[in-house]
């Protein structure tokens, strides 16, 4: 218990003192996870919508696989990306291993199925309501997807935020492909793992509190910017 209070106190000290290292690793955490969320949303949201409105033979299988991939073990994804990006691997010439870009790639793989699955579920319900209207207006597939994505934007935001939540708290994959290099690829989660390894539980917990606060702040900011949950609008 004592460690927890110490951690809270240390977190406050670090934040109020605008600790330079803390700002650096928090900034990189945000950069990597928001970047990954952005890319995964661009892929996952339309994919979810497309799966909702199309009927094809393997549809059930594709959806089942997509749902299963939500549980991808990050450490396996990390290893997979590592092998691909290693100098001895097929994309070695790009020299991307142990860079923030490699971390974004790993996280995109981890969170795209989550975003696509949640988006698919939301859009499917919406599509049941819109089906007759959009068909009778003789809309094209792309127009239907656009309409559904726009009208389902609140639910889709939840999909993206769920992806972000998984990304910002993830450590297994980015530890392997980022390498936790000081000032280059160290983020909040890998720093927490490092400090725990050193037996510095107070500092590790302090970083943990910062991480949780950041996740809450990002969610609040997104809600604020997209004007949800305000009086008179449901």
């Amino acid at each position: 218990m004592n460690d927890i209070w110490q951690g809270l106190a240390q977190a406050l000290r670090l934040v109020l003192g605008l600790d330079a290292d803390l700002i650096e690793i928090s900034g990189l955490s945000l950069q990597v996870s928001l970047g990954a969320t952005l890319i995964a949303s661009v892929i996952g949201l339309p994919l979810g919508a497309w799966l909702a409105i199309n009927r094809f033979r393997a549809r059930r299988v594709v959806i089942a696989v997509l749902n299963a991939l939500m549980g991808l073990p990050p450490v396996v994804v990390g290893l997979f990306v590592y092998v691909l990006l290693s100098r001895s691997g097929p994309f070695g010439v790009l020299g991307l291993l142990f860079t923030p870009t490699a971390m974004v790639i790993a996280q995109v793989i981890i969170i795209t199925p989550i975003i696509a699955s949640i988006a698919h579920q939301a859009i499917r319900d919406l599509w049941a309501d819109y089906h007759d209207l959009l068909i009778s207006l003789n809309t094209s597939r792309a127009q239907r997807i656009r309409t559904l994505l726009w009208d389902g934007r609140r639910a889709l935001m939840t999909a993206s935020l769920a992806g972000f939540g998984r990304a910002i708290g993830e450590v297994g994959a980015i530890m392997i492909v980022g390498g936790n290099i000081d000032h280059v690829t160290r983020v909040l989660t890998t720093a927490i793992a490092l400090e725990t390894g050193k037996g510095e539980f107070g500092l590790a917990l302090a970083l943990g509190f910062v991480l949780i606060s950041l996740a809450v702040l990002v969610n609040l900011a997104v809600h604020f910017l997209s004007r949800t949950e305000r009086s008179g609008r449901w």
């Binding site: 950069q31 290693s86 070695g92 860079t99 923030p100 870009t101 510095e200 539980f201």
Partner: protein, 267 residues
């Protein structure tokens, strides 16, 4: 979805911190990084040579694997047999000894296996096995793990059973486990002194020369991996064996104890 969050996110976009010329990557062991010596040496290296050394902190096994794959420019590890095998496979150019520190047997302050009274490290290990006292092994193919296995072998013990717990993690995590179980563990002195969660543990046995832990610097073979920064690697080697490095390495102390002994030979 409105454009706002997208725009915001793009502002924070994926700046992949593009490397300015003088960066090199070196894989080092957890024991070296946990000792805190890196934080003393790296700023001086940057000041004297202009090289920013990016450290990948892993076990010796993984460090050598990263070097073999060409994902780092050099490795600094401590497991002679593994290093020589690695060199024989053509992964590196040569092996340069830099310094050594030593391992200690950390265990419950009460020392239930009676290791303190033993004349040498092998007897101490045998005593732990005899007493079936809980022992935490790194179990991660690191240099420390290899040293531990060699000691068991020389002590004529096949470590197995309820008392022997292989955690498969780094030095710090293994020490945390030992602290939690009040178990014996083989640790390098630097990691132990820097460790923040000592609980009821203390050094039970130390000082036997077989516990010396030689660190060596191994450049990755540029013929196998043409992209490695051989010139920077050579510059770093020259610095590591210099008198400046000697002064810093031997002057590095924790709790008034010198941790490393510089023993690089001039070429």
């Amino acid at each position: 979805m409105t454009l706002r969050p997208l725009v915001l996110a793009s502002l924070l976009a994926l700046g992949a911190g593009s490397a300015w010329a003088e960066d090199m990557k070196m894989a080092v062991t957890t024991s070296f990084a946990n000792s805190g010596l890196a934080e003393v040496l790296l700023p001086e290296i940057e000041k004297d040579t202009g090289i920013t050394v990016q450290l990948l902190v892993v076990g010796t096994g993984q460090a050598l694997a990263l070097g073999a794959a060409g994902d780092v420019d050099a490795v600094l590890v401590h497991s002679r047999a593994a290093e020589e095998k690695w060199l024989a496979e053509g992964n590196g150019t040569h092996r340069r000894e830099i310094m050594y520190n030593d391992f200690v047997i950390v265990g419950p302050a009460a020392d239930p296996a009676g290791t303190k009274a033993k004349a040498n490290a092998l007897d101490a290990f045998a005593a732990i096995a005899e007493a079936q006292a809980p022992f935490v092994s790194r179990g991660d193919d690191s240099g420390t793990h290899k040293m531990e296995l060699a000691l068991w072998k020389d002590a004529g013990v096949d470590p197995a059973g309820e008392w022997y717990r292989a955690v498969g993690q780094g030095m710090g995590a293994a020490l945390n486990t030992a602290a939690g179980m009040n178990a014996y563990i083989l640790a390098d002195r630097a990691s132990w002194l820097n460790f923040g969660n000592k609980a009821d543990l203390a050094i039970d046995f130390e000082g036997d020369p077989v516990l010396f832990n030689q660190y060596a610097y191994l450049p990755v073979n540029p013929e196998k991996h043409p992209h490695v920064k051989a010139d920077l690697v050579e510059k770093l080697e020259d610095w590591l064996v210099s008198d400046t490095a000697k002064g810093l390495i031997e002057g590095y102390k924790i709790a008034d104890q010198q941790l490393f002994v510089f023993n690089a030979q001039p070429k």
